[in-house]
Symmetry: C2
Subunit: 283 residues, 2 copies
């Protein structure tokens, strides 16, 4: 497997790729768009993309990109996120004047950062990229918030470990590929659809799953561009598409929704020693 991910080596996306397949050849990309492009062009067999963090919420850009590209979701991976405050060897806590990290990571460590006085907070495009920035920077008074692995890769010391505000900080990643073959027996399905402008349209669409006892674990809406206040609805179902009830529900959905598109039916992959809670909270 050659797995494209966004960020520098040591990024949480790379950790998720290696959790899925420890022998994977991981390929760093600057943007989410570039991850999709690598898989589109066949330069990578798979792409791995964060779609939701348990604190920060949905990463909407990746939902938009799933629609723009013809890739299928072939697995889901959950990765616990543990942030560290990393500095160049020799830098003491009282020396730190600037902290670099991705906006989501900064938000996840808000309380910790608030307690650091006289420090400038600088948003960057990547957690591991911030660790690289600290290693390569001219000043010794900078720190990065990133993974322990990023610290090892870029030769930084850990000033404080596990600094996120909430101990349960988990990111869900989707693995995409050009073929729809899932990376194991599927137990989850993601679809996207739009609705007509009638009262109760969403209720009727959800009825096809609720009345058959099929659990909905996430419902996300994104705007239909150029048609104000119309939405694409992305639904995660806790069932394989081949499951007879799910297959019937999807046929039934065609009566109540427009343009139903299958984004993938795939396994929820959990690392063997996962401490993350099970991702299937039913709604």
């Amino acid at each position: 497997m050659r797995i494209a991910y966004q960020g520098e080596p040591g990024a949480f996306s790379e950790a998720a790729a290696l959790a899925l397949q420890p022998s994977a050849d991981t390929r760093p990309c600057e943007t989410f768009d570039a991850v999709f492009a690598e898989v589109d062009a066949g330069r990578a067999t798979h792409g791995i993309l964060p779609v939701e963090n348990s604190i920060g919420g949905t990463i909407h850009r990746n939902y938009d990109l799933l629609l723009e590209h013809e890739l299928a979701i072939v697995a889901e991976v959950e990765q616990s996120i543990v942030h560290h405050l990393l500095v160049r060897p020799g830098t003491r806590r009282e020396d730190v004047r600037r902290v670099y990290s991705h906006p989501q990571a900064l938000a996840q460590c808000e309380r910790f950062l608030r307690a650091m006085t006289g420090v400038e907070i600088v948003a960057t495009y990547d957690t591991a990229g911030s660790a690289k920035l600290v290693r390569d920077g001219a000043q010794a008074d900078a720190a990065a918030i990133a993974s322990a692995r990023a610290g090892t890769i870029f030769g930084l010391d850990t000033l404080a470990a596990g600094i996120q505000d909430y101990p349960q900080n988990v990111t869900r990643f989707l693995v995409v590929a050009r073929g729809a073959a899932p990376l194991g027996p599927p137990d989850k399905t993601t679809i996207v659809f739009t609705l007509g402008d009638e009262a109760g349209a969403l209720f009727r669409a959800l009825s096809v799953f609720a009345l058959r006892g099929i659990d909905l674990t996430k419902l996300e809406s994104r705007p239909v561009r150029g048609r104000p206040w119309e939405y694409f609805f992305y639904a995660d179902l806790a069932a394989a598409r081949q499951d007879p009830a799910c297959a019937r529900a999807l046929v039934n959905l065609g009566e109540f929704a427009r343009g139903v598109r299958m984004l993938g039916s795939y396994p929820r992959w959990r690392p063997p020693a996962a401490t993350a809670p099970d991702g299937a909270v039913d709604i």
Copy 2:
């Protein structure tokens, strides 16, 4: 009315405030948090906050802030968004080397920007603030994407008008205040609730509105921090809370949802000469 808004004079939030009340005393704030704080402290009577753009989607931060503060929604305002490419007098199109604007505005003019070659795109915190930056900057090769009014305020020339990718580009703003008294007869209600972890929980919650013919115009979910994959659901209903069917539905909702909180029942305010489509697409 003293209305706090995020951005510099000439920002679209200020335009929405002046569309609501042309004689309003508008008060610029650097962040959305500061807008809430101004109203909390009574330094402004109202705050105006963008919550959704028809191209870019929901501005999630403001939904989070609605939960963190005890303010009520007292009106909704729609504002058409028309972007202009603004430069210092004398700068020609072929001179432009950098374009500044808010990330949402840059995204809304993506096709236009792609056609400008050899130009660096720089994200800033505000559209009007970018116009100010261009006026005050050392170099004459910079341009800003902002409103015509921002151009007038900061003495800039318009190189290109109406440069957004989609002609129908509308932002919905919410007006918040410390008292719940709406700015006119209410015809819309926003609530927030959470759900138990049972299959069909969302379907049952929505049934209380659908079975009474009450239109749902938006459903947004945000994470419950510290409880992975549980959500706050924000629902917009096309009815006043005093409407008998709506009042009964809200009582009924208490059986199927947890912690139902009323965020406001308020009028949808439309400028007299509005070209924006009606915001009530039912789902």
